[in-house]
């Protein structure tokens, strides 16, 4: 499995460019929606072009991120991504069946981001929602943007060393959850009219609206109530799982080696016993 270094270097530049461009399109879309408030101009009846801009800008941004992220992946990463997506979907579905209070649908995305880097994480997130939307639950597709952002940030924070100590992942998860709530608010507000399949969440949004919040504001506040908690749990669970993996497996990913994602290389057996005691 010898990696050719030369042709890869030049391709990395275009990869990073596409990722940055995609992220910029998404941020620009959001900023425009907040500043121009096109959806609440009212125009006598119905909404303005807010929903079109939210959907279009996010779609273009996600497409750029996917095409950039898939540019040069090692074989090992390519094999990892489908497993990450399957974990997202299966755990998310089981969680729905058990009726847990959180989403828990981004465990695979975060894991891939931590093991294989921001680009791979973003690709896992975005493709995960596309596949989920195309097979089980079409309304999830527009949220591909949020999923991509979760994978991207997970990779970036892992690079900064957030997975070297057990107390960092929940804190980072909190931060990522706040960003997720902000990014997904325009989609919930303008595409889905600020409601949710869950009656509880819709009631919360309705309460915010009744207190005078805008559509976007109410959706953002509703997101703040569920996203940060969900991502805190997700990041912590991912940390426990990855530390329990054999280090031989973790170090097959160049990203983990290059940035010392899990700190110094040493055998650790303690977390597995921690997990066992938790499971009791």
């Amino acid at each position: 499995m010898a990696q050719q270094v030369q042709p890869q270097q030049s391709r990395t530049v275009s990869q990073v460019l596409l990722l940055v461009l995609g992220a910029l399109v998404i941020v620009a879309t959001y900023v425009y929606l907040v500043l121009a408030r096109p959806a609440e101009a009212g125009e006598g009846a119905g909404a303005g072009p807010g929903s079109l801009i939210a959907l279009g800008g996010y779609l273009i941004g996600s497409a750029l991120i996917i095409s950039g992220a898939m540019r040069n992946l090692t074989t090992m990463t390519l094999a990892l991504i489908p497993v990450g997506i399957a974990i997202n979907i299966v755990v998310g579905q089981v969680n729905t069946v058990l009726g847990g209070p959180l989403y828990l649908d981004s465990i695979g995305t975060v894991a891939v981001g931590v093991l294989a880097g921001p680009a791979a994480g973003a690709a896992t997130g975005a493709l995960s929602n596309v596949i989920w939307g195309l097979t089980i639950n079409p309304p999830l597709m527009p949220f591909a943007v949020t999923a991509a952002e979760i994978g991207l940030l997970a990779g970036l924070f892992a690079r900064l060393g957030a997975f070297r100590r057990p107390w960092w992942p929940p804190l980072v998860g909190l931060l990522v959850g706040v960003v997720s709530a902000i990014i997904s608010a325009p989609i919930s507000a303008f595409v889905f009219g600020a409601v949710d399949v869950s009656a509880g969440r819709s009631a919360i949004t309705a309460a915010f609206l009744a207190y005078g919040a805008s559509l976007l504001g109410a959706s953002t506040l509703q997101g703040f109530l569920s996203d940060p908690a969900d991502k805190m749990v997700t990041f912590f669970v991912v940390y426990l799982i990855l530390v329990a993996l054999p280090s031989r497996f973790r170090y097959r990913f160049p990203f983990v080696q290059r940035h010392r994602v899990f700190g110094k290389r040493k055998a650790r057996a303690t977390p597995t016993t921690e997990e066992r005691s938790e499971a009791q």
């Binding site: 755990v91 009219g193 409601v195």
Partner: protein, 288 residues
């Protein structure tokens, strides 16, 4: 080493498990890869998948671009989507799917927005502190008709298009084969994962794990499910990587495909026409 499983989705490497005969999975999990696709021949099934995808996306863009009158997107749904689905012969399943995904959402939408829409001025119905405003009802109606198109397009796509053929057709039109591999591999992994998740849940129940009761209890029940499931999944990754490498997947240069999805000049022209139509709708919305 993984085995090689070939179907009309092309060939992909997968773990040894994929070769075992499938047991019936528990009733509450349906096999997601085959749930919705209805295998029959109709003019809609026969179209090149890329044409259907472009048409669907163009329809969604138009639904979100046309804002006046508020029922413009509803017209698109009734005049374009419903007949298309009828031609495909999947109308019953189509409406069942829409009901399942959208009905609760739409009920919520009308309740919340007709009562609390921020831009509401004109009261059409009042009862003490509860007032229903015209603007809110219109906003809900417009959002609802757009959602019908958005979800309807994808429902129609999945009912009449095999995911593998869709990927093959997209690769023929220049999409990266890596994306196609990720999608096809995922669709193969999920059923076998669901079976494993079921087995783990049952094993943990046999140990006396509580999967009923309060929400907090049920959330806690996920922990002993997650670790075996995820750890088991990750150990297969190395095997898959070797299998991909052995098929020379990463070699650069031209590759041949097992299945060739038929395409025609007419459909190519139609696709460009649809793209122009969608762009026109957006331009008319933003600059006119």
């Amino acid at each position: 080493m993984g085995s090689r499983s070939c179907s009309d989705t092309g060939c992909s490497a997968s773990g040894r498990r994929a070769r075992r005969p499938r047991r019936k999975s528990a009733a509450r999990h349906s096999d997601v890869t085959t749930t919705f696709y209805v295998d029959r021949s109709s003019p809609l099934h026969g179209l090149n998948p890329v044409t259907k995808l472009v048409a669907g996306l163009a329809l969604i863009v138009m639904a979100f671009a046309l804002s006046r009158p508020w029922w413009a997107s509803a017209v698109l749904f009734v005049v374009v989507l419903v007949p298309a689905v009828a031609i495909g012969g999947v109308q019953r399943r189509f409406f069942a799917m829409l009901a399942k995904f959208l009905l609760p959402l739409l009920v919520m939408l009308f309740i919340v927005q007709s009562l609390f829409y921020p831009g509401g001025r004109e009261v059409i119905f009042g009862l003490g502190p509860i007032t229903v405003e015209r603007e809110g009802v219109l906003f809900a109606a417009q959002t609802a008709s757009r959602l019908l198109v958005l979800v309807g397009v994808f429902a129609a796509l999945l009912l009449t298009t095999h995911a593998g053929r869709m990927m093959a057709a997209l690769v023929q039109r220049g999409m990266s084969p890596k994306i196609s591999y990720v999608v096809s591999a995922t669709l193969q992994i999920i059923p076998n994962f669901q079976r494993r998740a079921d087995a783990i849940v049952q094993a943990q129940r046999a140990r006396g794990l509580d999967t009923e009761g309060s929400r907090w209890r049920r959330a806690k029940a996920l922990v002993p499910l997650l670790s075996p499931l995820v750890l088991g999944a990750f150990t297969e990754v190395g095997e898959r990587a070797v299998a991909i490498e052995a098929r020379a997947f990463t070699v650069r240069g031209p590759k041949t495909s097992l299945v060739v999805i038929p395409d025609s000049r007419t459909q190519q022209v139609a696709r460009w026409g649809l793209v122009l139509l969608a762009v026109g709708a957006v331009v008319s919305r933003l600059w006119v």
